[in-house]
C-alpha cells in the first residue's frame, strides 16, 4: 500500500516539477508547483510524519503559493511577455546540468546507506516529537530563524508605511 502510494506521489511530484519550469504561463507554473508541494506532503504522510505533512500543506501549499498566485494575478502579464518566460536553449542546458549533478550527488549519498527502499520504518512524526527536537537540540538555530523572521516583519511594516 505505502509503496504504491510512494510511486504515485513521486511520479506526480516529478511531473509537476517539470511542468513548473517548462510552462510559459506563470500561473500554470505556480499551479504545478502547488501540485508538486502537495505530492511531497503526501510523501511525508506515507513516512508517518503527520505534523510535517500538515505544515507543508498549510504553510507552503496553503499560504505561500496563494501569495505567489496573488502577485502573479496583480502583475497582469500579457501574452507577449509570457512567451519570453518559456523554456529556451541555454535555460534547458543549465538546468539539466544542475539536475544531473544533484541526482549524482543523491545517488552517491544513497550508496553509503544501503539499498533503496521506498517504504521506510514508521517514525514518530507527531507534533510533540517535533517540538521536543526543535526546542532542545536545535534551539539556537530556531532562535536565529526567529530573529530573521522578526527582522522581515519589521521590514514589511516599514515598507508598508505611507511615509518613510
Amino acid at each position: 500500500m505505502e509503496s504504491v502510494l510512494f510511486w504515485i506521489l513521486s511520479v506526480v511530484a516529478v511531473a509537476s516539477a517539470v511542468l513548473t519550469v517548462s510552462r510559459s504561463n506563470p500561473l500554470a507554473s505556480a499551479l504545478s508547483l502547488t501540485v508538486c508541494l502537495v505530492a511531497v506532503a503526501g510523501l511525508f504522510a506515507t513516512l508517518s510524519a503527520h505534523f510535517l505533512f500538515i505544515i507543508q500543506l498549510l504553510v507552503y501549499a496553503g499560504a505561500v503559493m496563494v501569495l505567489v498566485i496573488y502577485v502573479i494575478m496583480l502583475l497582469n502579464l500579457k501574452e507577449r511577455e509570457m512567451k519570453a518566460l518559456g523554456l529556451s536553449g541555454p535555460r534547458v542546458f543549465v538546468s539539466s546540468l544542475v539536475a544531473v549533478f544533484v541526482v549524482a550527488l543523491l545517488a552517491r549519498a544513497q550508496s553509503g546507506s544501503g539499498g533503496f527502499d521506498p517504504v521506510s520504518p514508521v517514525l514518530d512524526g507527531s507534533a510533540r516529537r517535533v517540538a521536543e527536537i526543535i526546542f532542545t537540540s536545535y534551539v539556537y538555530p530556531f532562535e536565529v530563524v526567529s530573529i530573521l523572521l522578526l527582522a522581515a516583519v519589521v521590514g514589511v511594516v516599514v515598507l508598508g508605511m505611507k511615509k518613510f
Binding site: 500561473l27 496563494v66 496573488y70 494575478m73 496583480l74
Partner: protein
Amino acid sequence: MSVETVVPFVMVLIAALLPLSLLPVMIWAERKVSAFIQDRTGPNRAEILGIRLGGVIHAIADVVKLMSKEEMTPARVNRFYFVLGPFLALFVPLVSFAIIPLADSLNLGGTVIPLRAVTLNVGILFVLAVTSFHVYAVVFGAWASNNSFTLLGGLRSAAQMISYELGLGLSVVGTVMVAQSLDLGRIVEHQGGTLLGFLPAWNLFLQPLGFLIFLVCIFAETNRNPFDLTEGESEIVGYHLEYSSMKFAMFFMGEYIAIIGASAVTATLFFGGYQVPYLDTDFLRAHSTGVLRVMLVSMGAICFVLALLYRRYHRRLTALYHDRRRNEARMLGGMMLLMGLAAVVALLFVSPLPEAGGQVVVAAVQMTTLLVKILVVSFFFIWIRWTLPRFRYDQLMGLGWKVLIPLALLNIFLTGALLVFSGRT
C-alpha cells in the same frame, strides 16, 4: 472481510455523503428561516403528486432550473482554470468532514476502530489546511473569468480569507492547550463530563473568548454575512460574476457545504462533538439496552404525534380543497403511523444487547447528537445572515487584524496563565 477493513470505507462514505445530503436541507432552511424572519411564507409551491414537504421540493426544482439554464462561457478564457474554480469550490469543503470524529471509537475485543474517515494526530491543523485551500477556488474562478471586476472581487475575497485564517488559527490554540492535544478525537474526549457539577465540560465554557473569535473568523472564512463581500451583488461585484448554470451552482453548493463543514468543526471544537451532555460513552455503553429502548420510545412518540398532527392537517385540507393537495397529509401521516408502529414492534422484541451491538447503538446515538449540534450551529449561521447588515471592506480588515488577532493572542496568554496557576501543565 473483517470489521476493521470495512469500517474505514463506510466512514469515508459517510464523511462524503453526510454534507451532500444535508445540502438541500440547508438551502431549504435558508429560505424558510429568511422567510420567517422577514415575516413571509417562503417557498411552498413546487410539488410532486401533491407532496410539497413545506418547500423542500423546491430544491429539486432549483436543480432542474440550474441544469437547464444556458451555460455562458466568456470569450478568450482558459477553459481549464475556468472549470477548476467551481470544481475546487465544491470539492475542498467536502474534504474537511473527513477529520471529524463522528462517534467514540469502537472497541471490539481489543481492536480499536476509530469512527472517522481520517485519523491524524494533528487533526485540528488539517481543518486549517483545508480552509486555506479554499482560497484557490476563489482566486482561480476570479482570474479565469477574464474580467477586471471578477479579478478585483476575487482579490478582495482572497485577502479576506487569508487575513481571517490567522485569527482562526490563533483562536483554536487555546482549545489545543486545554485538551493538551492537536487530535480532534482527544479534544472531544476532553469535553465529556461536567464542569462545576452542572455545566457540560464543553470548550464553549472553558474557552469563551476563543469561541467568540473562532465564530467570527469562521463566518469570514466561509464568506457568510456579515462578511459576505464576495457576493455583495447590490454594491460590489463578486468573483463568480461570469459563471452561469451548473458552474454557478457549484460555487453556491460549495458555500453551503463549507457552512456545514464549519458547523461540524465548531460543534466538535466547542460544543463537545459527539458527546451527549451529562452521559459519557462508558455510561451509555453500560446501559446500551436501556438507551436503545429510550431511542425507540422517543422515536415512536415523535412519529405518533406527527401522525396525529398530519391527521388534523388532512381534515383542514379536505375542508378547503378537493384536489391532490390532500395527498401530502395522507401519505406522510400514513408513513409516520407505520414508522411509529414499527418502533413499538421493535420495542417489544428488544432483548439485552451483546457488547458489540451495544457499542454500535451508542455510536448511533452519538452520531445523532453530533448531527443535532451541526444543525443548531448551521441554523445560527442562517439566523445571523438575515439579522445583521454587511460590513464595509475596511471595517472587515480592521476587525480582523486590529481586534481579533490581538484578542486571540490575549486568549492564548490567559489560557496559559490559568493552566499554570491551576497546576495542570
